[in-house]
Symmetry: C2
Subunit: 241 residues, 2 copies
Amino acid sequence: MNQINNSADEMTMRTPIQCSQCSMQSICVPAGLVPTDVEILDKCSREPHLFNKRNIVFSEGQKLNSVFAIKSGSVKCYTIDSNGKQQITSFHMVGDIVGLESLASGSAATYCETMETSMLCELKLSKLFAQELPKVESNLLQLMSRRLANCSKHYLNIVNTSAEQKVVAFLLSISTHMHQHGLSRSEYRLPMTRTDIANYLGLAVETVSRIFTALKEQQLINTEQSILTINDFTALESRVA
Amino acid sequence: MNQINNSADEMTMRTPIQCSQCSMQSICVPAGLVPTDVEILDKCSREPHLFNKRNIVFSEGQKLNSVFAIKSGSVKCYTIDSNGKQQITSFHMVGDIVGLESLASGSAATYCETMETSMLCELKLSKLFAQELPKVESNLLQLMSRRLANCSKHYLNIVNTSAEQKVVAFLLSISTHMHQHGLSRSEYRLPMTRTDIANYLGLAVETVSRIFTALKEQQLINTEQSILTINDFTALESRVA
DNA sequence: ACCTCTCCTTGATTTGCGTCAACCTGCCAA
DNA sequence: TTGGCAGGTTGACGCAAATCAAGGAGAGGT
């Protein structure tokens, strides 16, 4: 998996290319996707873009009349505050749709940057809405409703919890996401750096690092390279309760 | 304003009644509402409910095929975690729509409780979607998109800021909401208790109280009863930057 | 080979805020 | 009148996590 990404990183194209995966719709949609996501991903107009690691998909304030479906890879969304400090607002991985917050204003609310080589499908809103598909809006509504619910959930993880609880809840939430998308929930790649995690959770890097080592010492998790393995779900879940 | 609420508090009806405001649509919609809100509020089926202070509008997990538009008053949404602790996820005031998070799952994601005597219009989703109105979904989409954006904003206020910044940002965000709804941005009622604010912001009550006194000592704000007055916007805004 | 840069880790020290405790006020009921 | 209760304020103290500091490992460039 790492190797695939690394070799792909060496390609430097940023312009839209024909996506080999997307020529086959059946492969395009990961197994286990929830129905709504499938339906929206199916609307993918077969113009997937390949983005290199650390490429900007869109910038804060940029006029934006599309959303992006993540076919592979992962992105982080962040704002830059008045002091120039980056604040990550969300991570998105395979199966996610990015840019929903921009729908109302017509301009992007955050920067969106790939954390690794990624493939995104641009979904033009005009097409989505104007086309024959009457159910897309309902699907989008469902998607956003779920996103709002997730937002509250993340919020709960942030407010009134210890640093350890935040990190554990974070790892478990990714695990859940992976599982929902038909991937292993006990072993997955963590595409983001400790610095990114710390930023996202409102902690210092050092704190995140210390918690990772503590969890490893307790044999609850393992990390090799960027692969995270969860050894004991029940123990972890009891920490966040 | 307080008097009106107090007298209304003495009424103990919880069942739907004819809303005197709603019989006049023009009064029903507060001046200054953003267009989307107006359009959705107009769909209000003229069956506003009067809720007493501290009434439950809906409960977590409850089957829910409606959203609620707040005509007057205010509510708090909260979850109860496994330890029985209440965690407030959002406050909503006049002009807001509550229950959007429940749209996908069909059951309420949080409890919703009035903080004062309030009038809410129930908007049945079946009606909204089945009816002639083709634009409602788009409007709802816009609304949810904006809500998502707000969610991120609140998140930014919570992560990586001092207790003072959280409180100041909180006060300013309410000020903005009031202003958007045609009310005074420099003087408004704070319907929630210090305990609620602390819970919402992830702080201790004592901390919130100390910050209020500090801000008062610096002449930045004033509080009499539950009326909050903002004396110096620029000074406050510089604190959160 | 060497340097630089990013990412991660660990230790020592400091501090912001939570916790505990006490007290005041206003409201309601007996 | 008294007592109970909820909400708010203030002070003293302790701790969890930020900050400061240093060093190691790996990747990439010259």
